[in-house]
């Protein structure tokens, strides 16, 4: 079950102040451009994608909240292949895809923590976890990873 729905105090991404939204965008971009060997382009939100794989990292401390990185099947596989630098014909199992998504969320959260809350800000990161469930809302920042979709959101505990 999605942790987002476990968190009644969460606010949707649109409520994020612009500096934080920009820092989130820059953090994702930094991870994608440094670590992912795949075509990644920011894009407008789309609808109809089956975003059913989500990796989440919680921020604990003064800046409590949850970062979520959701993908459709194509996006998840493309992200994993890009991180692992696999050719299209190389085998890729579901466990590898899930681990790649979690590590990607972990890196984005780490970069965001430094960018947004300062190098020594009071924010601790949880170990990333995976939720396989349809994304409740398509709100968030969107990227195309090859032909797939990647949506990154941040919900803050009030």
């Amino acid at each position: 079950m999605s942790t987002l729905s476990n968190n009644p105090d969460a606010v949707p991404e649109q409520a994020l102040p612009e500096p934080l939204l920009g820092q989130l965008r820059d953090s994702v971009q930094q991870v994608l451009s440094t670590m992912v060997d795949a075509r990644c382009d920011g894009c407008e939100g789309a609808h109809g994608e089956q975003l059913r794989i989500q990796a989440m990292v919680d921020f604990q401390g003064a800046h409590a909240g949850t970062l979520s990185l959701a993908c459709d099947d194509d996006g998840a596989a493309s992200l994993a292949r890009g991180l692992l630098m696999l050719a299209p014909e190389d085998p890729l199992g579901p466990e590898e895809i899930e681990d790649a998504l979690k590590e990607c969320a972990n890196m984005v959260a780490g970069v965001l923590k430094t960018r947004a809350f300062g190098a020594d800000g009071d924010a601790r990161l949880s170990v990333p976890r995976l939720v396989v469930a349809p994304l409740a809302s398509n709100d968030g920042l969107w990227w195309r990873v090859q032909a797939g979709a990647l949506v990154v959101g941040l919900r803050r505990a009030s």
Partner: protein, 124 residues
């Protein structure tokens, strides 16, 4: 170099690091893996010839800071260098890691060049 140990709870990250080592032409006879500090200590016990450790910080069971502290009970920095590879780039945390006995650190995300220059001093 003889044996190198990569400790990270992400198998993806362990594979990425192995690929970067190959690309950087850092010659290692054998690369061992562990998913957390507890498994890392077990690897060190069964493989006393491990020459270098790369360790994540944020891991379940035993995190990287506790792991390096544990290593330093039996191995000096000179005898067994430990490089932290971490998403946590807070200066306080990194200073803490060095204080606990880490020889250096690399922040994720990293380029192959960053890993190469961090490892170069230990790879002859």
């Amino acid at each position: 170099m003889n044996k190198l140990l990569i400790v990270d709870d992400s198998s993806t990250m362990r594979k990425i690091i192995m690929r970067v080592l190959r690309q950087a032409e850092i010659s290692v006879d054998n690369i061992l893996e562990a998913g957390n500090g507890v498994e890392g200590m077990q690897q060190l016990l069964s493989n006393p010839d491990i020459a270098l450790v790369l360790s994540d910080v944020n891991m379940p069971e035993m995190n990287g800071l506790d792991f390096v502290k544990e290593i330093r009970k039996s191995h000096t920095k000179e005898k067994l260098p430990v490089i932290m590879v971490t998403t946590e780039s807070g200066q306080g945390l990194l200073a803490n890691a060095l204080e606990e006995g880490a020889n250096g650190y690399v922040c994720k995300p990293f380029t192959p060049e960053t890993i190469r220059s961090a490892l170069e001093p230990y790879c002859g």
